[in-house]
Symmetry: C2
Subunit: 346 residues, 2 copies
Amino acid sequence: MLTDRQLFILQIIIDDFIRSAQPVGSRHLAKKNDVSYSPATIRNEMADLEEMGFLEKTHTSSGRVPSEKGYRYYVDHLLSPGSLRRSERTAIHSVFADRQEGLEKAIQNAATILSELTSYTSIVLGPKFNDNKVKSLQIIPIDAQTAVAIIVTNTGHVENRVFSLPEGIEPADIEKMVNILNDRLTGVPLSELRHKIYKETTELMRRHLRNYEAVLHMFAEASGGSPIGKLFIGGKTNIFNQPEFRDVEKVRLVMDMMEKEHDVYQMIRPTDAKAGVQVKIGTENAEQAMEDCSLITASYSVGDQPVGTIAILGPKRMEYSRVITLVDFLSHDMTNVLTRLYNTRS
Amino acid sequence: MLTDRQLFILQIIIDDFIRSAQPVGSRHLAKKNDVSYSPATIRNEMADLEEMGFLEKTHTSSGRVPSEKGYRYYVDHLLSPGSLRRSERTAIHSVFADRQEGLEKAIQNAATILSELTSYTSIVLGPKFNDNKVKSLQIIPIDAQTAVAIIVTNTGHVENRVFSLPEGIEPADIEKMVNILNDRLTGVPLSELRHKIYKETTELMRRHLRNYEAVLHMFAEASGGSPIGKLFIGGKTNIFNQPEFRDVEKVRLVMDMMEKEHDVYQMIRPTDAKAGVQVKIGTENAEQAMEDCSLITASYSVGDQPVGTIAILGPKRMEYSRVITLVDFLSHDMTNVLTRLYNTRS
DNA sequence: TGTTAGCACTCTTTCTATTCGAGTGCTAAA
DNA sequence: TTTAGCACTCGAATAGAAAGAGTGCTAACA
């Protein structure tokens, strides 16, 4: 077990390293105001901490650097809870205050604000309302052979798709079709739409018109939509600011990964395993490219259903305290706003 | 004026430098099969070419490197017209062969293919049909206070926006409104919609219902949409492959710029000044960050109206011949496909 | 007169040696 | 248990020195 003094020293070493990015030496620490031990004493403790795996040396006669285990212990036990400035709070609140621009824009703004406040890279996984319910279906003919199918959900989300009309269909037929579809499918969750569309309406449609299959098929397709929410990444190039990423190859690894939507999604998709803020340090991330990075994630919800994730990607030497507080705060804010907004319209 | 031999030497110097990224020396050139002059002769010619500003030295005793003026002359006068492999042609054709996925996906694929074929960064400015005409306007109520406004154009493009309904409006009122709007605005080009919506319908609407302003305003807003087409960038990290971008600061400049949609748009927006492929070398680009890059653009059209742009961003030391051929080919292909697709539906 | 061989010169790159300083580990004294 | 002292290690910085690539110029050659 660690003595109090060891805890203290571990803490100030990591704090110092996070700020300076320089290996910290015993003499340097001893000079600090709140440290009253001599360099030699500190050296002894450092040696012990290193033996236990919390610290590392870059070479035999360098100062100490936190190991991954060290960071892990730090976030689990040593973190002083950060607090937000008033200006930060209002910045975050303002993102969702003005809904005029639409949800998508608001989410994108959230990503931008987050990266600006932290000067790390932010990732926001937009909400996917799988239990969105159909509010209205429309078919708008464009010309003799073509039409647009439109699905509006109870959250105001609109899916649309161009498709070819069956040969020789009449405007009256289309109207009939739309009526049937609306009659039978209003209120059906999007996730079930594909299934229900065939089950509920095939019979009816067949009675009223020929060539209904193409149309049904089309609607089923459009309802599929993207299986995941949209990804927004803010401050992609912030990683360039980090001194440990002076190396082109390292930057490249991370940049490449950020371009691969699928990988990013895998990394931050909401896991309902644990609620609250999650921290993944270095190799704790599955992604190879993340071995020098840390990822802080929190999911946000509508009601008690998690619908999306916000995350901060930075160097392992991250300001954990600040970022955790920020991410926690924003995710709660988003949960509140979205819940108020969407949970009422059922 | 340049002698034939000077032209020849300038050409092989640039060809060689494009391939190797190394300053090319007289001895190195003389050893090539198709060069029958001695190093000394070549040195003399090089000195002349340098004096005329086509070549530069990185330091007093280095080989020569093409200057910006050199590249400019090269693309204007020395370019051997490249040809495409069959596999490249089919790759390009295949992008637009299958329209099932929708236009947006196809455009995105174009960007991806382009960056993969060239191993540079590709930028595609999605089509903006400003003369799209309104086909249909819809208002779908979501709940008592909220509704979605939808505009469908003759190309099948759908704009939508959530908005707040005026207090105490009745479903019948909405229907009336939609009828008036459709009656008066069908066929109006999107670019004029904002204007016409007030001019044509205010009077009528006022007669039929209170609080029409909010609704009109909303439609006017939605019709504004994004003033520009959507941007797709492929192979953002390809720049890392270029040896002259080993430097983190240089990469950063370019990366930062690519994140700023507005800057990118300014750079590649269609200029109907010149048709065909345009090449901007280094500082010929307005953008500061581009001083070590070249940009090759071509716009594509529907009919004879340019609607979007494709571009390749690479180092000044770019394979101009290949890329120009490729960009030219793809832009024509896109023009053909889009013209066939959209020009019929007027 | 145009071309080429030869040579001195320049500048970068690479290697080696040296020094400097920050930091450690260990021992012994307080 | 803490601390002072000291030898030791290693990286970073500095300065030559040598190697190598390439040039410019001059003079000879065809």
